[in-house]
Symmetry: C2
Subunit: 306 residues, 2 copies
Amino acid sequence: MPATRGGFDGEWFTEEANGSSRFAVKMDALLHEERSPWQKISVYDSSFFGRVLTLDDVFMLSERDEFVYHEMLVHVPLLAMPDPASVLIIGGGDGGCLREVLRHDCVRRVVLCELDERVSRVCEEYFSWPASAFADARTECVFEDGIAFVKEHTAAFDLVIVDSTDPVGAAVGLFQREFYESVRACLRSGGVMTAQTESPHWNADMLGAINREIGSAFTQVDSYLAMIPTYPGGCWSLAWASSTRCPGDFFDQQRAKEIAASCSYYQPGLQSAAFALPVFAERACSGENLFERFDSKVYKNRNPDD
Amino acid sequence: MPATRGGFDGEWFTEEANGSSRFAVKMDALLHEERSPWQKISVYDSSFFGRVLTLDDVFMLSERDEFVYHEMLVHVPLLAMPDPASVLIIGGGDGGCLREVLRHDCVRRVVLCELDERVSRVCEEYFSWPASAFADARTECVFEDGIAFVKEHTAAFDLVIVDSTDPVGAAVGLFQREFYESVRACLRSGGVMTAQTESPHWNADMLGAINREIGSAFTQVDSYLAMIPTYPGGCWSLAWASSTRCPGDFFDQQRAKEIAASCSYYQPGLQSAAFALPVFAERACSGENLFERFDSKVYKNRNPDD
């Protein structure tokens, strides 16, 4: 588990990863802070990153770079399907993935299933995109546990996006085989799941473990990468999982061009390039950790529940 | 210019970028510190990153991730040439690029031209690879100013690698048109220059400015990216410049397979995938900064010489 401790000292918000590195952002102001039934929700303003959302003192998104994660988690799968009509987003209460899904005119229905309604309400107040995304006629917001939701729906979605926090606390179940099996059952024929699967560099062991869980529920698991400067290590892995569709099977070039015209990260060339993994990441996906000699020093004395 | 301030408080080494973000590494020990005629040279030991080299308190390399930068700066150009025989490395006193160049049996001569001999001597003492790389029969170490060196050599090298520090102090001249013109003249027909060109995310304006300078000396400038977790923003741009050769013109598949077998980052699929730039990076290369609204707040009051 990623032991990530953070905090705000009135000037710098600091996030610590693995007890070994820290990323800190200079904040101009703390705009909002509350404790929901699930977590501490904070919104800051900063010059370099714009507004920033943290949950339990873990960096979730900044106005400067949120587009990377959201565009890549959404457009890569949607452009690899001929006519995706229905999408389920698990988590993603900030509305970023929702905003990107709604750019696809072919999508007729998007369900956002977020555990913590307060995340959505706070984001609606402090960020520019959630209000219109939540109000879209195609959007249904459901504030309940995603694990329960997928169990109750069968063959209902062309794409399920798991936009979760790290695998700690309430989110642990979103990284386990049982959940992935429910997601598979929840997909229509030809359906795909994408999910965030942590840092291939900082959390190589974790990426391997997550991919094993996914691989026990789906026949096809591929990983692709996106460069997210505000996440630990600056590079993040995303999973493509399906029992019927490989990432390169289909690509809607025309729609990709249209979508890319309003993107800040995604462009058609990344549709395959993002799957060309560096050696260390490819190995991490299959459970081999090239950083073992370093990681073992850091993790050996740690509580496995950290 | 990247105003980067760092420091070691006895436990954490901290590097500040643009006055807006900080990256810090927990160190177990400061193994070495000296002031050469050119800069402060420090070597630390850490659990998560292994040994770490900093110059003037700026992160240069760690044992954990140095392979990314060195493999990508070296193998991408060398594998795009049929029979590269001679290589010049400007800077690169740590021997990392040299080590990677020497993996190519076709290379008969490698000149390492490093301004500060103390960097090489210190690295030789604290890192595993420099001693054998410096001692290789094909290696010539020259400790002098790279700007002067390239002026004195014409049509001598198939590849020139500019492995410099950031464009501050003694390194400023390594980012200017006059230097790039000397490099061009220093290349044999079909020759290529690769160079580190800063962060597309943290320093979009600077990347655009550097590429303009390179483009005034070479007819072909392309940028490619590598994910380097210990550099600001976690993603670094590298330039390919040539007056005769495009990145995709030639690829030695057989040699690429052999080289990749001993790599931790480079694999043949990255030869083209690394050039598939995210939109913001592509725009930065051509001088358009998608982060202008954030950067302007941070840079507007800063001394341009910072």
